[in-house]
Amino acid sequence: MCLAIPMRVAAIEDQMATIESQGLTQRVSLLLVPDARVGDYVLVHAGCAIAVLGEQEATETLDLLREVLAFEDREEAGEFEDHGDS
């Protein structure tokens, strides 16, 4: 619910940023972080950027997020299926 994801600002128009992440683009409000610039990494939650991150900090978090996502993919593929009773 409170998950927020670092994304890179590709363009800004009227306090709305076009954001790219993992090959997808989306529009995000910059109302809460008006100082964000093109090229910055911002933390995005519920359609709003809520913080500006340093690049190194953002990419570290992204690396870890990718690991989590890869884990979830494998999990969904049933690799970690646990058939025991808990």
Partner: protein
């Protein structure tokens, strides 16, 4: 580049090193730490962090999952709104399967109600703009992380002069339930793992009262295994209770002041009912007088009738950190993520769901 995968910051080597450090600083003491953020609940179970802890350290979940702490009466109101024929009810996916007294939004949708899952409150504004024939109601839940985004969406709706957009604000603020828990005094808590993304907005200063007034420390943590362990090391090492930030990548002591201004422009504090904790004065957010025309509870008069808690469900005690989920008689038997009875089993961030999904082992 050039750094081996396992020794990267946050990698397995660091996790092991932090687990060793925790063993040293805790030195066999019995300590109970509480996390109050659903994303932490999920991370702790997912990464199996409990299995890495020294014996004396116990982690309990508090009231940190927005869906879980939403009172039954409020869930009943959401369902009653969805049943109105003119209403398109938009909300986050987490809310759709949560049982109210007699139904769920998913069940209502199956029976013809217009229920939409949106990723952002701006999607609901957009929906209202494109469907002037429908009354779009956004059921807003979430803490300080989410409330500013909803406030920003309401400002957007106001700017576009939308008369078919409204919000049922079930938003809550986080410091208040921690105070309530400590006042109750029924859970012995030696420190809090404080919520990372709530603190992006509130800042760590909003939690200073924990140390100052209650003598309980807290560390604002990020969401990677190394973040959580590093926070635990810092909590266990505290000689004097203090509130500190481990998640320095995103959190500043003062938080996001502008986001809080936007939030208090659109919302005002109200008393709110929390599952498990009862009514906490000033812990909710309702629309401020200048934005009252966007308040769904005023636009539509719905009477959800008397609410009923599911029999045998111990969600309230789980949310106060009094029992671990498997202690509940329904856990894993009649109550599973596929057939949830209580809210804590529905949301993926609920303590029961996290325990069940990852077959987490307590102490």
């Amino acid at each position: 580049m050039g750094t081996p995968e396992h020794s990267k910051p946050g990698g397995p080597e660091e996790v092991r090193r932090l687990a060793d450090a925790l063993r040293q600083v805790s030195a066999g003491r019995r300590l109970t730490f509480m996390e109050v953020c659903g994303t932490h609940t999920m991370a702790i179970s997912r990464y199996g962090l409990r299995q890495l802890l020294p014996q004396g350290i116990r982690l309990v979940s508090g009231p940190g999952c927005p869906v879980c702490v939403t009172a039954m009466r409020d869930l009943d109101t959401v369902v009653a709104l969805a049943r109105l024929p003119e209403v398109t009810l938009a909300t986050f996916g987490d809310l759709v399967r949560v049982p109210s007294s007699s139904s769920t939004l998913a069940a209502e949708r199956a029976q013809g109600a217009d229920v939409r899952v949106v990723y952002s409150p701006f999607d609901a504004v957009e929906l209202a703009a494109t469907r002037p024939d429908r009354q779009v109601v956004f059921a807003g839940i979430g803490f300080e992380t989410t409330a500013p985004a909803v406030a920003a969406a309401i400002l957007d709706g106001a700017r576009r002069e939308l008369t078919n957009f409204s919000v049922l604000s079930l938003h809550k603020t986080m410091p208040a339930p921690l105070r309530a828990l400590l006042d109750l005094g029924e859970t012995a808590i030696d420190g809090f793992i404080l919520p990372g993304h709530v603190s992006v907005i509130t800042g760590s200063l909003a939690f200073d009262f924990l140390a100052r007034e209650y003598g309980v420390g807290g560390v604002v943590a990020g969401f990677e295994p190394a973040d959580v362990l590093a926070a635990l090391v810092r909590l266990a090492a505290q000689r004097e209770p203090a509130v500190a930030i481990e998640y320095t990548r995103a959190v500043r002591p003062e938080g996001n002041t502008l986001a809080r201004e936007v939030m208090s422009q659109v919302f005002e504090p109200s008393d709110a009912e929390w599952r498990g904790l009862g009514t906490i004065p000033g812990s909710g957010l309702v629309l401020a007088p200048a934005f009252r025309q966007f308040a769904a509870e005023e636009r539509f008069s719905v009477d959800p009738g008397p609410s009923r808690e599911p029999r045998g469900c111990r969600c309230g005690e789980v949310l106060r950190g009094l029992i671990d989920p498997p202690v509940c008689g329904l856990f894993g038997k009649r109550c599973t993520p596929e057939q949830p009875i209580g809210a804590c089993m529905v949301s993926s961030e609920g303590a029961c769901a996290a325990y069940y999904r990852y077959r987490d082992i307590g102490e």
